[in-house]
Assembly symmetry: C2
Homo-oligomer: 356 residues x 2
């Protein structure tokens, strides 16, 4: 069973996916995933030489002359072995009484960031990180061609406490037959601001924040690393492109080359400063603009009123009853204080690199 169900009371879709079917006895305590196989090098399906342990690859950046599903790759994308949604399913929409259902058409892919079991994303050199960012872009571009899909979300879970089921460094992609609730909220906020002011909300915000300074952690020619004014979590950090663009998949190779060292700096700073915490990051970009011939467009505009960005949270606090029951987050570290700590650390990181 893979289907999306609409919750009419909380006004949101939920994915019911029994691909990893669970009876009561299958659950261990919270925070410890059931799928932590592959911890050891020998069993790891993401290592070079173990390509046959994954479903066939969808995309790879590999040395000239090497064959798919064989060694010789830098970055490799494969379907998730336990997909929450599957590309083979049809997006059939139907009602059952007062409830609504969509069958679980979508995609669930794994972006293996390196063949080396012992490296983390932040350890890779900037050119390699650029290749990972390139793989993100290519997969989004490809999936934007599937008319059933309404969104493509790229995210990364680092460590088991943040939801990673395998230790070998990887990102994930889930494409869904509707725009996810949090993304829809952001798209709507940007849309409404644009309609009222003919300006991008996030462009306005970036200008104000650079002028103010206290929440800017780092600034390059093209990007800022920002401690959000209303951070939901301590040390939550966003990477924002200074130039307006709604769609990550439209970035050029040069844009990705500029982004790579910014992401590397952020990951290394989080690791140093917070003692290598579990973390998640997500890429928020605009939905696909393609539509089925004769069908209404998915997201009703030129779509360029959004501003793509990356949101990262180190997993430092427990999400308790108040957070999920109220939707209110309690953050014990003021974003300005977090920015001070991280700015200082990043300054040191850059100095160290210069010396070396």
């Amino acid at each position: 069973m893979r289907e999306l169900r609409f919750d009419p009371i909380r006004n949101r879709w939920v994915i019911i996916s029994t691909e990893r079917a669970r009876r009561p006895s299958d659950y261990t305590i919270a925070g410890v995933g059931a799928h932590t196989d592959g911890k050891s090098l020998a069993a790891c399906p993401f290592c070079e030489g173990s390509e046959e342990k994954t479903p066939p690859e969808i995309f790879a950046i590999r040395s000239q002359g090497t064959k798919p599903n064989s060694p010789g790759w830098r970055v490799r994308v494969v379907p998730n072995k336990f997909p929450a949604l599957q590309i083979e399913d049809d997006a059939i929409r139907y009602g059952t009484g007062i409830f609504d259902v969509v069958s679980g058409a979508g995609a669930h892919e794994v972006i293996i960031e390196t063949p080396d079991h012992n490296e983390e994303l932040g350890d890779l050199d900037t050119d390699w990180i650029k290749d990972v960012l390139f793989a993100y872009r290519q997969r989004i571009r490809d999936l934007f061609g599937d008319y059933r899909l309404r969104y493509v979300l790229i995210f990364k879970n680092h460590k088991a406490e943040a939801g990673a089921s395998l230790t070998h460094t990887h990102s994930q992609l889930i494409a869904t037959p509707m725009v996810p609730p949090v993304v829809k909220q952001e798209l709507t906020a940007c849309r409404e601001n644009y309609r009222a002011k003919e300006r991008c909300l996030i462009c306005d915000l970036i200008k104000q924040e650079i002028d103010f300074g206290a929440r800017i952690i780092h600034e390059t020619r093209d990007y800022i690393i920002w401690s959000p004014f209303a951070s939901s979590f301590p040390f939550e950090t966003w990477i924002l492109p200074k130039h307006h663009l709604h769609d990550y998949s439209m970035l050029s190779d040069n844009d990705l080359r500029e982004l790579a060292p910014v992401l590397k700096l952020l990951l290394n700073s989080i690791k140093r400063l917070l003692n290598d915490p579990p973390y998640n990051f997500v890429l928020h970009t605009s939905p696909p603009r393609f539509k089925r011939p004769g069908q209404p467009q998915h997201w009703d505009s030129i779509e360029s009123d959004f501003h793509w960005h990356i949101e990262l949270i180190p997993r430092l606090t427990t999400i308790a009853g108040f957070e999920w029951g109220a939707g209110f987050f309690i953050n014990p570290t003021p974003p300005e204080a977090a920015a001070d700590y991280m700015r200082e650390d990043i300054t040191k990181l850059i100095e160290v690199r210069r010396v070396i």
Copy 2:
């Protein structure tokens, strides 16, 4: 610093509260709270005889003739020693550039459910649980008189993995100067349905679900225990009153007496079936109806279009990047299957009780 900040991109308020101020080195790994003092009996501030270790009590159910802040109580309510929001603060609303802030007026209280360190809420007899439910009602009634407050949320965190910082069984109350996002969503859904149909959304849902049956776990004269159609989490379970009422604080003593055994059954079933998991529950009820003289009403209606209920989630899965970045939850146990397991277990529980 205690203030609420509005996130204009995600359209939600966040509480920044440095009462438990945190530098980078203060954080341990996710899922392990920093405030796990009081694990041992001697250090526990919630035990009988340790009343001086908490701030002075706000409310208590105690034996005749015993004095406040002394032994002799069954249920005791005290201010949280590390409040996220504080009643002494003023609810001052102001803007800073494109951002909005409200200073952190509110309340953060602890409902100590029993003086016995080793009992859990589900272990208490139904009359005692009724007293806990009575304390909830009295605190909501009292705080509804404070014109600065827009909502009073009661919730319970069971075990550290669910956010409990002390093991001695207790619930919490947070009152906020605005309606929390998830609650607002539910209020809005019920409001819109009522405006369109002049019927309560949740009353409609209850009727349909009782007719259908597959997601009803247990039914008494006044309540159902329900496995929600679009459960966000495996074994998520709601207690819904069959008779329409928007406001928990309007329940009679008899209503609470009927609710107590239903809550006890649910807690014991979750404990047996899922190997005593961490859990959270929240009470969703309508906002206060009172207003400051001459001010517009907080929630613009007769407010009776909502339907109070309790939502419980066992904490069995990790909240990963996809969940917080997308707002999509992936639930690996179909609600109908969860209902089957729980229905069977509750039937056994009732049989056992009858035999004893």
